[in-house]
Symmetry: C2
Subunit: 369 residues, 2 copies
């Protein structure tokens, strides 16, 4: 199959990888803003490691630790303004998907001081400041990608910004930083990564190279999710590593192929019902698999083979892992949710097996009436 | 397994890809030197396509078509001097491994006018001029790599030069350009690609990502080689595509992991007995597989599984495809060949399963006494 794969895969991985790359970090400049979401970066040990290396190198740095879950444009703008004021040469994003996406947005604002928060979506920009990224969850894939998903302060809606300037110079991948994730975050982030791999794999954009990564990703991730479904404890170090590398490979697929309908539909559950992002997307994976079986049967079969499972067991395990609480929607609410899909997410809908419409979304939400 | 994969995979593939990328080509500048090995670039149709696009764009270009098999330093130096004189902004390499490696060397000489031919091995350099590459054989992998293998005019020995500046801006991969390869070139180049994938896969440097590509490569290539072993005709378009993409994936493994002992030992057969490069390397693959089975049994087993074959059938098919003619060596000649390995190829020997010594090489050559 023909392909167009122009993708800088730049991952340095392994235990102690931050310290081992001190020389490479030094080359990025003398002033750095660290952007984090707060507790994750600190608890994981990544923040302390980064600060120690920057101290050793004599790099002047400051820490912006207020990127929240589903990062707001205004907060990222603040981080970018701080980076600008301190004349940062580069930004160091540390954390889960929100922190990394926030760091990317801050790197754009820092390079474009005239931008208002919303200009990030509309105006031509100067390339973002150089980024180093460290993931502390095993899900987002943001650390190998060119996308940042941000939330509008007023509408509360998620929308992404992307560009080659958002690829990190490299990502420093140390699976030990994921050890501090609580169990529910471990599950939700693994489900997010699984969604990336499955949605990307079944997209018409998925050519041979991202398919290779997706197949490897679902095998690693599903094995980990099965373990999580049958154990109440936390994964050991080897399983953490497996989940983390699975999430990176899924991230490579995501960067090449994008997502399909589970992601934008999941945003509704996150924005309006507070469901964690990974669980919100995974809530639609059974329906996604079913459509894949109908419209791209070979790909669906191959996914199940790679996961060594079948559709019934797949749905059963997802059901056990996904906690949606008690969602209730009114027909009016559903209409309002679906309105955004008249124009907003044509790519995700086109990338779905068999296509996808506003009406399809409506039908899927109606089970919560 | 931890990994360090910082690799710009930049491939645009498919029929008509040169014309489709006219805009991207235009961005590289107004003056271009095309570097080819002569007949291959013309017969394949690639040269005509490139010239037509450059004409349309109004790019001023010249063609240097004298890169021979196993390109000589002096000839690449000439090409570089021509590029310099015409003030080329970029070079367009078209052809098999020799032409592409020659284009890389010319791009170095063009950027470093004070270099004598041999300085390419010893002196610090300014980055090579930007390169676009088009492969017309399905073997070399040079079009996705950072290495150029060159031959010293006086000693006749092959030696490589490498660097990130030798990655192409992108490679334009159109499998139809491989259709004009005669059968013996098709076989030899496929064997070369198979060697890249197998040698790279079994190297201690091979981490998860290059392994993914190697597994895919050997599956595609072995299937093609089996077909070639059981048919006397030329492959059809689909099989050509399979061999070509197999060679690209093998090239990605090669770029990440390098080669082991079959490559330097094969150089002796090429330099002194005129054996085609791919066949010369493949002559040592049965011994390579045997050592892999002994020292990295899991990897050897996985390779055979991916190829859906066993060692005995593997050796039988290779024997059928590899034509070494009537090689005869004297003990003195063997000593002379082995002398170069006291210092010259430590990386290749270290990368071999179980390690490899000058004495091992000697033993392998002694079958030709």
């Amino acid at each position: 199959m023909d392909f167009d794969f122009c993708f800088p895969i730049r991952v340095r991985s392994g235990q102690g990888v931050v310290r081992k790359n001190a020389d490479a970090i030094a080359q990025l400049g003398q002033r750095c803003l660290i952007v984090t979401g707060g507790s994750g970066a600190a608890k994981s040990g990544a923040l302390a490691d980064v600060c120690a290396v920057l101290d050793d190198l004599g790099v002047i740095y400051d820490v912006f630790d207020r990127i929240g879950q589903n990062p707001l444009l205004s907060v990222c703008h603040e981080a970018g303004t701080l980076a600008r004021k301190m004349q940062a040469d580069f930004l160091f994003g540390i954390g889960g998907g929100s922190a990394l996406d926030g760091a990317k947005a801050a790197a754009i604002y820092a390079a474009n001081p005239a931008f208002s928060p919303r200009d990030i979506y509309t105006k031509q920009r100067k390339p973002a400041l150089p980024l180093l990224l460290i993931g502390t969850t095993a899900g987002t894939g943001s650390e190998v990608g060119r996308v940042s998903v941000l939330t509008d302060d007023e509408t509360g809606r998620k929308k992404s910004v992307s560009g080659d300037d958002l690829y990190p110079v490299f990502t420093l991948a140390d699976p030990t930083y994921t050890h501090s994730m609580p169990r529910f975050v471990t599950i939700s982030t693994a489900l997010d990564a699984l969604s990336h791999a499955m949605e990307g794999y079944c997209s018409p954009k998925c050519t041979d190279i991202p398919a290779l990564f997706a197949e490897k990703a679902v095998a690693l991730l599903w094995d980990g999710l099965l373990w999580l479904a049958s154990n109440d404890t936390l994964p050991d170090s080897a399983m953490r590593e497996q989940l983390y590398y699975g999430s990176l490979y899924a991230g490579i697929t995501l960067a090449a192929c994008g997502t399909a309908f589970p992601h934008p539909l999941g945003y509704v559950l996150t924005e309006n019902y507070g469901i964690l992002h990974g669980m919100a997307c995974a809530a639609f994976l059974p329906e996604f698999l079913s459509r894949a079986e109908q419209f791209t049967p070979q790909k669906a079969a191959r996914l199940l083979t790679c996961m060594q499972t079948d559709a019934a067991s797949f749905n059963q395990v997802l059901d056990k892992l996904t906690d949606l609480g008690d969602i209730r929607m009114t027909p009016d609410e559903i209409d309002a949710y679906c309105d955004r899909w008249t124009t907003a997410v044509p790519n995700n809908f086109k990338a779905s097996p068999g296509g996808f419409t506003k009406e399809d979304a409506k039908t899927m939400f109606e089970k919560w009436i």
